[in-house]
């Protein structure tokens, strides 16, 4: 009944969307898990990354250079934020952190409006990336294949960083027991700054990669942040592996819901009712999944602190 070509293509789209969510979720889950810090402004760093990459790409006509500048620039902004503002919030409650970082969202949105104007920026891609390649007689957008490649590379890099290096060991230790790491004489402040900077750079990478698909616009971070939070809750706070699996799950479920739910509804509903009900139900699917995960496994699928 369902065209297997279409099914495969939608699976590809779901994975691609999930990968984009993963780039954002990876940074956020580290900050959440290790610093116990509620950072709503993560989406602002994503936006900043997109704008910087777009501006550089437009000025130099090089998309690659745009990314190369956006990453360190946002990393510096992230470190600055951590040192100047967030550090003072670690000992406060989550509500204070939410308020402060929500204020940062407003600040960054206005800042971007001041610098770049209200309209947003379109990011030109090299024309070679604006095409699709045909794989098993399915045309797949080349750029989205690239996004998947970058996402997998980042996942690999994070795996090696977290599992195989000393810094990774400290990060994992920090996620499990912050006080103990501090008590052992490790400068936990430095680790926090490093992790936050890393998260900011990952957010910038996600923003720079998202630019050529959605364009850089004010408030782009808030839209996607909600889904990223769902990813983190499902995956388990502080867990990179959880973020990866959660992001792919959310991406695939979101796309599959949008693709096939209306056809499914048409089996037992009148056509018009199915057309209106399906999009609403499709946008609920990921929250239903989150509710289920919270009910049966409140710590998430891959909780970081379990060891």
């Amino acid at each position: 009944m369902v065209d297997p070509h279409l099914l495969f293509e939608q699976l590809f789209n779901g994975v691609q969307y999930g990968i984009l969510l993963f780039l954002l979720a990876a940074g956020l889950t580290l900050v959440f898990g290790i610093m116990d810090m509620m950072n709503l402004a993560h989406g602002s760093l994503y936006m900043l990354g997109a704008y910087i990459a777009a501006t550089v790409a437009l000025a130099t006509d090089s998309f690659l250079l745009g990314i190369a500048v956006a990453l360190p620039a946002t990393l510096i902004v992230g470190i600055f934020l951590e040192v100047v503002i967030l550090r003072k919030l670690y000992d406060r409650g989550h509500l204070d952190q939410v308020l402060a970082t929500f204020g940062m969202i407003l600040f960054f949105n206005e800042l971007v409006r001041l610098i770049w104007g209200p309209a947003g920026i379109e990011v030109p891609l090299p024309s070679i990336l604006n095409q699709s390649v045909t794989l098993f007689s399915i045309p797949l957008p080349l750029y989205r294949i690239l996004v998947i490649g970058v996402g997998l590379a980042v996942a690999g890099f994070l795996y090696i960083l977290v599992v195989k290096t000393k810094i990774g060991m400290l990060i994992r230790a920090g996620a499990s027991n912050r006080e103990m790491v501090g008590a052992l004489g490790i400068d936990i402040k430095k680790i926090f700054t490093l992790v936050f900077g890393l998260g900011a750079a990952l957010a910038a990478l996600a923003g720079a990669m998202a630019g050529p698909i959605f364009a850089a616009t004010i408030g782009m971070g808030e839209n996607i942040l909600i889904q990223v939070l769902v990813v983190i809750v499902i995956g388990g706070i502080g867990s990179i592996r959880g973020a990866f699996v959660g992001a792919l799950l959310i991406g695939v479920i979101e796309i599959m819901g949008r693709s096939f739910l209306d056809d499914l509804f048409k089996l037992f509903l009148p056509v018009n009712a199915a057309e209106t009900a399906a999009p609403a139900a499709a946008s609920m699917l990921i929250y239903i999944l989150m509710a289920l995960v919270l009910f049966f496994r409140p710590q998430g699928l891959f909780p970081a602190r379990s060891g």
Binding site: N13, P118, E122, P124, N130, S132, I213, A215, N223
Partner: protein, 399 residues
Amino acid sequence: MKKTLVLGVSALALALAAPQAMAAKAKEIKIGFVTTLSGGAGVIGKDMRNSVQIALDHLGNKMGGVPVKVLFEDDQVKPEVGKQKTEKLLHKDKVDIMSGFIWSHVVLASRNSVVKAGKFLIISNAGTSKIAGRLCHKNIFSTSWQNDQVPMAMGEVLNKRGVKSLYIVAPNYAAGRDMVAGVERTFKGKILGKDLTKWPTQLDFSAELAKARASKADGVFIFYPGRATNAFMRQYAQAGLTKTPLYSVFSVDSLSLPKMQQAKLTNVLGTFSTQFWAPDLDTPVNKKFVADYRKKFGSYPSHYGAQSYDSIMLIDSAVRAAGGDLKKMDTMRAAFRKADYGSVRGKYVYGNNHFPIQDFYLRKVVADADGKWTTKIEQKVYSNHQDVYASKCKMKKTW
């Protein structure tokens, strides 16, 4: 005897009335203009404000010899804010006439405030079916269209071009569903699929585009206003759908095209849209408006701007008819109903619901002589087209 008395009374009345009429000529005319000046939709408000400026330049900042001032307010695309700003303009700034309004839900929230204050409301964009129908009012006029007319015209175009099957993608909110209903009302071919996407947060269209391609439809119809247009166009190209023609309403216009050109989205060139107006519409007023706009602001105006220019010019015609006396509501209303002014679209008439009965055109995206992307009129689709909601309006046409 009786005759003399009548004459005497008339003369007396005239004598009394004449100095009053002289005194009633307003010292200054204030027009309240509600639009969106912040956020992503701020570009629309900017275009409208620029066009109002051009209109005021053409009028020498005077209407019927009276200096005119336009006060702009930002509705932030929120109905409650729009209503609040309308109240402020009416009661604090004491404006004489209200105009502007991009969004249907904002104008619906603000309508009653203007009606209660007994002022005229000249709507520059929002084409809600309610105000065209049941909620029509003797003091409300539109210089745009009713939402459904534009997609209906597109449906006719598709029939004429021999498009047999169509795939529809639009956002899942009031205007999105209106646009879909509009094209479905006139399109005679088969609709192979329809996706209503989450609005305004969904900017990823990969799933919908894959379905559209799999349906093998002859064409794709979209309605994506604002920033979503460009995201859609870009993903359309990336998904390898370039061979399937794209038909759009209220998506590809003078505001989105410069950004598409900047992003080198060449697949938008040659696509079709319908509208009552285009920058190249051949009327003397439009030529002057577009030329002066381009000279002053360096870009093409959009239909939002054209409608705003017309709003100011329509108000001017009524103020002149009343000799600058804004208390002559009946005289002004009669003048509004005649629509006897230099409109960018040429002459049109008002239907019983105070919405224009006008022509609609098919527009194609082309590069102009300087290489700038713009829309060019291909052919006329509708002549003197009236919206379908006029019959639901209780006002009778007496002019």
